[in-house]
């Protein structure tokens, strides 16, 4: 008999750096392995690369299940464009495999440093949501390993209820061992990109109306001063371009340690934003970018989250309907400025009509804004509570994967299907987020 695995305690932080939790971890090495034996009262939570910005990836007082070796490809259908792989495979691994063969991810978030299991559990979306929906829209099959030892193959047709709960299910319905999903043809590794300056949120709406011909769109804006000018970026894969593209290494430079608190001062950010806008004097700029620069600019800098210092940062991401979202965003940013905690980074994205099967899936038709703040502790949390009221009034909702402090009321208002979802939660699985947002009520 091999020695019993050690329940080692490590300090684990989500990508935003807060909260840091001493966390016991266990490994599940192979997708064919059983789950470890839980001790009495112990709960599990799968943990991929920990890129979420909230405690959806933490399980204080419980166990994190890590799967560093579940990283194999199982099947690839080159003609139909479909791949089956273990849940620990990263999007980076997939890109290295797929792009030389002329295929691309069905949709992709802004980093390739996430696992397939994590992409499904958070039903991630990307710059193409208005065309292609979220990641969960493209999953055709997956296998769940439940704590009672059962392996359940779920798809939109078989075990569909469990399938719907698992897409965006925050890892709570069991361990995803493998998944199969559709791919997208990639005509070239390059994209034709157009950047359009806008002077205000109204101006952005005008610019974004011409988006219909563009598959990938996103807007960045300066949240430190009204009326919030910014740059709208849109791209399409180039029809054809020279092949033989070799992917660059990720994390070519790495932030070696936590930046001191004074480095990212509001005045610096404001100056940086102005410089960024000055960097594009023309109203419209066109260029050609490789897909790595376009989709994953931050993957080139290892541990960039350390720039926010030891206390990390908090992101506030909401979605609201087209009619209400811009007004809501303006109120949120103005409130932040008035309370002397201006937003450091604001990203705005149109979400399309196609919603995934996921019961707890975040995207809904409308606009989503993701707003970064350095974590100042209580002042930031108080500010977020004021945002919460505005989002509730606007009938919007928050993204669990980005929110380590969302209240139970916010969660239940935003996700009325949570009660149906909770019936599918594996009794031996839980998370910090889940216990806060839905836990101790019937």
């Amino acid at each position: 008999m091999p020695a019993p695995p050690l329940r080692q305690t490590e300090l684990v932080r989500p990508w935003n750096g807060w909260p840091a939790v001493p966390q016991k971890t266990l490994r599940v090495w192979r997708s064919a392995d059983p789950l470890p034996e839980p001790l009495t009262g112990e709960t599990f939570l799968p943990f991929g690369l920990g890129r979420s910005l909230s405690d959806v990836c933490l399980n204080p007082d419980g166990i994190l299940l890590r799967t560093p070796a579940m990283d194999r490809f199982l099947a690839f259908d080159e003609t139909r464009g479909s791949i089956r792989c273990e849940a620990g495979v990263t999007l980076r691994q997939l890109l290295e495999f797929l792009t030389p063969r002329g295929w691309f991810l069905p949709t992709t978030p802004g980093t390739s440093q996430v696992t397939v299991g994590g992409a499904i559990a958070n039903d991630v979306h990307g710059k193409d949501h208005h065309c292609n929906g979220s990641f969960g829209c493209h999953v055709t099959r997956l296998e769940l390993l439940r704590s009672d030892g059962r392996r359940i193959e779920c798809s939109p047709d078989a075990q569909s209820e469990l399938f719907r709960a698992t897409i965006g299910g925050l890892g709570l319905t069991g361990l995803i061992t493998w998944a199969e999903f559709r791919l997208k043809r990639m005509p070239s590794p390059f994209l034709d990109v157009e950047s359009v300056r806008f002077d205000s949120l109204e101006d952005w709406r005008r610019v974004a109306q011409e988006d219909s011909a563009w598959e990938y769109t996103v807007a960045w804006l300066d949240g430190t001063r009204a009326p919030f000018p910014g740059i709208h970026i849109r791209g399409n894969f180039a029809a054809s371009a020279p092949t033989g593209y070799r992917m660059r290494r990720d994390a070519a430079v790495t932030v070696p340690c936590y930046a001191p608190g004074w480095l990212l001062r509001p005045s610096f950010i404001s100056a940086f934003n102005r410089l960024k806008l000055l960097g594009q004097p023309a109203m419209v700029k066109k260029n050609r970018q490789d897909f790595q620069s376009f989709f994953y600019p931050l993957d080139r800098i290892g541990n960039w989250n350390r720039l926010y210092g030891r206390r990390g940062y908090l992101q506030y991401q909401f979605v609201a309907s087209h009619e209400r979202a811009l007004g809501l965003l303006r109120r949120v940013l103005e409130t932040a400025i008035a309370s002397r905690q201006p937003a450091y980074l604001v990203v705005l994205k149109t979400l399309g009509p196609s919603t995934s099967a996921g019961l707890l899936s975040f995207p809904m038709p409308g606009l989503t804004a993701a707003i970064d703040f350095p974590n100042l502790g209580k002042p930031t949390l108080d500010l977020f509570s004021r945002f919460d009221e505005m989002v509730r009034t606007a009938k919007g909702r928050l993204y669990p994967a980005k929110d380590p402090r969302m209240s139970a009321a916010m969660f239940r208002d935003g996700y009325p299907a949570w009660r149906e979802f909770s019936r599918h939660v594996d009794p031996a699985f839980s998370s910090g987020f889940w216990r806060r947002a839905a836990g101790n009520t019937p």
Partner: protein
Amino acid sequence: MSKKAVIFGATSLIAEHTARLLAAEGWELVLVGRNRQALQAVASNLRLMGCAPVHELLGDAADMSALPQLVDSAHQLLGRFDLALIAWGSFYPNPDARQIQEMERINHTAATALAELLGEALAQQRGGTLAVLSSVAGDVLRPANFFYGSTKAALDADLRKLRLKLAPRGVRVLTIKPGRVETPMTAFAPRSFLTATPAATAAGIRRALQGRRDVVYVPGWLRAAFFVLRLLPKWLVSRLRF
């Protein structure tokens, strides 16, 4: 013509990641392992990733009498070996008598016997590399892994002997010494920031294959660290906690 390698203990994570690097370069591989299902999983992933053939060969390190047959079968599949890699190991933290025996057999006796056979096969084709996964544990025996360390120390000594014997016949014998790697073998032991990933270790092995050294530490700074450890007085070594 593509290069060819046989890998024993191919379902270990370090071996699997090394195989991925070789497959990506177009090497033809024979993977030897004792668990059919695990072997298939490793091989089919490699087949999807690469274009050169990947063969599976079922065999158990514990069965010493089967080793010549295994080497023969692998040789028939490939025709020649550019590289033969032995990458199996066994580790118990506080072993009882039976576990000590198992570590001794797998880490030392069987590995040495297989190395002899492979060395002879390489010598007959007048060249090639025999690479064996040992461990830094054999350099300085420490309380945390006394018995494991002594089996690896014995393996190191046998490989030195084999190197002297085979060098005139054009065979390179490469001893690879990783530190702690995050694998099922060390799942009971605490990890620290010094614990390496299998992928990084495999990359170190791949570089070592191209280099000229006979004994390679992965990562390289372990060479200096264990040089210093060897100089420590024994009252200090016997108190080491790692």
